[in-house]
Symmetry: D4
Subunit: 173 residues, 8 copies
């Protein structure tokens, strides 16, 4: 499978969500997966949303990551328009801290699921997308396994350093 | 203004919301306002939603009442597709009691408001629609004023009866 | 319809709410709609509230926007006193982030609706007022349609720019 | 001080709150304090609310107990209209369990306090009113002290019985 | 009634609550009511709490204001130990914003009410105490009436100034 | 790809979750996808959880659906042990209605995502699994597309019937 | 260590909590640990609470389990009066489902911890008490280990049965 | 009992929790109790978690303190793997303030309790561990009693100073 054309669409309702959502793009690119990053609003540009989502599968997109805050309809609206798996990222809001975003994304009605990750958890959305892609791509699969090992090693190394220098010194560093 | 064609569209995402949403229809009809009641899902029939909302203004609809529960996108999706005022009714859910519905409807992003009423408050949605219609229709305006007077009288009558029979007897009745 | 006298009353319970509520005034004036901005407390100046609300319709006010925080009674108290549509803006609080304001405004009893918008969403309150006014005013109607198109264009332009410069450069800018 | 005319006004926004609010009336009458029980809606009969609250102090009312649910404005509206202490009873709601009522009553702005008791805690509202009245009435004071002793005895007797019969038998009884 | 000895006890569980609770003391002293301010912890100095509360009535204290945060037991513990009215001030917490404090104070069991005010609302606690004291003291009563008038005037003056200078200039000032 | 061996593991922490989780099994079997249904507790049988999750990928499992309530650790614990995508179903609890389950499942730390669906939304978990499997299986892909069409038709038929019989008759039926 | 005198005190504020709290007593007795079950209210019988808690350690009590609902002060009040470990059981309430109880118990101030278990989790409180007692008692330690094994076996047996009969038949049984 | 080898294990899922969790270590060392501080992630290093927890009792650990935030599984996962008492510290999160952590820790299923303390309450976790250890160690017992006395004295001294200098001066200091 060629990784040169985008396999993952990363959609956000407003460019103000980019500081959060770019973590998804960064993670996917670190794994060598091309992404298509778009600012498409379910509420302000519904026609673009419809056209993009309807065409995504045909253009080779495999997984969609959508982030939104408040009455966060974007992931659900996209999920209504395409059979591709849609991963929803509830973006933290200044008023309700993202509980509004979370409920608006996760509580989808029967028939139209959105795979919801934690509030602001764009990196985890990317990792979930990679785990899904890995099911059909041995190269990504190997990278996911390696990432998980490296992640375990990182925790173990911090633990080892803490044992070595003691928690008092570690806390100061 | 003729009241023979529908002035208010009452849309719900699922016919399971009809027991709640029919209160809106009943109230509007009591005021002599024709309604168009539709089951249209933002998630399961997005094309119908788009077509209906896009055509509503042209067909003479003035106000839209939309009810939905959970990740309740319907009012916001309609509000994205038409400049008509959209009144959202958060429907109570079995799991989160409608807090999810409320947040999903009221916390709309800048530019696309939804006039949200209380959880399950379909009757109030109808009254709000009537107050809006009354701005341009003297007959409805008079009916709204009369309704409010009647409502005040009803409370006053109950109070008077309570004074008459005493709270102990009233509580038993 | 002359726009020279106020069509919309913008009422707040405390002048500390002005930084939020002035967005409503700004938006309405941008649309050429005159506003009457008042500081009237449901709790500290109830007589003024009563007099103002009772007289609003007669003086040509069409829509009322009321903002308040905490035990936010102002929108509901005004709605009790006038048949005009009242739009409530729950103002964020330092303790409960505006959940208190939201519940105090949206959960009105049967018979007295308040059209509630999101927490701190004074701009959306103004847009909702404009959508209501547009039902009876072709000039405002045209401006609302134009605003919505401009808003869609703005999102599309940001999206286009993001495609052009790439998300990495966009995120830095 | 004569107890023959009402010292405590018990106000509720709807007669549907009477099953809760009558506990306040019962408790006060058990203590020999006359009550005035009224159904007055802050939203549906605002003029009655205003007239009643404005006249309460002059007519010898000392304490007001007001119960309401949802966007529960009644206690705060009364507190705005009289310098008498107002005790608010948040009534449980079918949708938000009374959290809405609680926030709408307790989070009053500076200058206009409401003495809030627990959700549905009409009996406690009565006891609080009695504790306030007791400050200026030795007879009530003695009854409050006696009630508290009796209450302690009741708990102690249940505890004694539990020790006597054992928790297994007590649980069955 | 002499105002020279304390009529109101202001108790806090930790001196870290003083920045909030001193507003109660300031307000009461502005009204010429002497206060007794104490740091007494229901959890860390329970014996002091017991002795103080048991002796309060005998020493002429009429009303108790108690502030606490988190698992805020102090108001309820004091209310268990004295028949005097206890006003509880839920202090905002860094983790749960005072919802924990509010629930811990307001949801008292039948028989032992606490008159709860809003989160951090120490000033309102003082005003409520004054309204209670006013029932038996004409001087305080007159001051409470004057305060409420002054408060209304202050809102009216701000409103007048806003009308005079316009909301745009007012917002800048 | 043979569908004869299980492609999806459906794991629940307690057999009391089966009435909810069996909807996932039913849906998957309706699509012709074999499932492996297991009762494995992250807390009571951690070794079984470890062994099962470690072996899942090797045995041909592609997607895991895990349901749990309360401190719902099962989905996250499985996600820690396998690179396969894990879909979490927060099961409603009698005390906190599943908010506890939802937060325990969705708020996973960076590096270990769980694809969370709505409270009790086991059917949606199955559909999400099918959308993921469809990326690598044309037969499932076709069935997913057909299901979505059928679902849209069902809503449209109900809407059509409602138009035909009118909302009053529909509500009675 | 003799198990004949009570090692664990089980205290509840009201006998209405016995249906929940008796699970703690049952569990402890199943493990052969004597319990002292008392109805003592922090609010209605504070002196009994003080005397009991102060004397507990001297009488050989090792661990205290206290259950309460609403403004649930009992566990914290006991923890203030004794250095023994206090386990708090938040009892579910009809209004706030036990969130009030949970916050009132778990959010204790620095210096006075309460070991909080889940809402209504009296059985877990007993198991926690047993795990604590097991640190100094080999017999209890052995029983705790055996209980945990038995518990694991029970889950495994249900899983085995489910594999044997299939999930469809299991769900029916 | 020798205090030279660790009696308490302090485990955190990420070294970012050390600023909170080191308060537990500091408190325990102040009491002369050795601690073993480890960074072990239930999700990223599950094998280390399993090995550590399984070996803890055999190595002489008596009590485990585990802190985690978000979907905070660490305390529960450890509690599943060892019969030692596990104290859970819910760490405050930037999005949900630690409500997520609290629910993920406290709402454990029957059979596997976690002794939960308040959000970020690592010091209280240590004190609870000391109260547990004190049951079998007279030296620790004496220190716990002394600590509690000192703590009471500290509050009393602050109270005395406040009486001496007056609340106005105290508030300024």
């Amino acid at each position: 499978m060629s990784l040169n054309h985008p396999l993952v669409g990363i959609i956000m309702g407003s460019d103000s969500d980019l500081p959060i959502m770019k973590e998804a793009a960064e993670t996917l690119e670190e794994f060598g997966v091309s992404v298509e990053v778009r600012v498409i609003s379910a509420h302000r540009t519904p026609d673009v949303a419809l056209a993009w989502a309807r065409g995504a599968k045909g253009r080779g997109i495999k997984v969609i990551i959508a982030g939104a805050g408040g009455a966060a309809h974007l992931p659900g609206v996209l999920a209504a328009l395409t059979p591709l798996p849609v991963i929803g990222v509830p973006v933290k809001t200044s008023t309700l801290s993202g509980v509004d975003s979370l409920y608006s994304i996760v509580q989808m009605p029967p028939g139209v699921p959105v795979a919801t990750v934690g509030i602001n958890a764009a990196k985890n959305a990317a990792l979930l997308a990679l785990q899904i892609l890995a099911l059909g791509d041995q190269e990504i699969d190997a990278k996911v396994e390696a990432f998980r090992q490296k992640q375990a090693d990182s925790v173990a190394q911090r633990d080892a350093k803490l044992q070595e220098v003691g928690w008092k010194n570690y806390a100061k560093s």
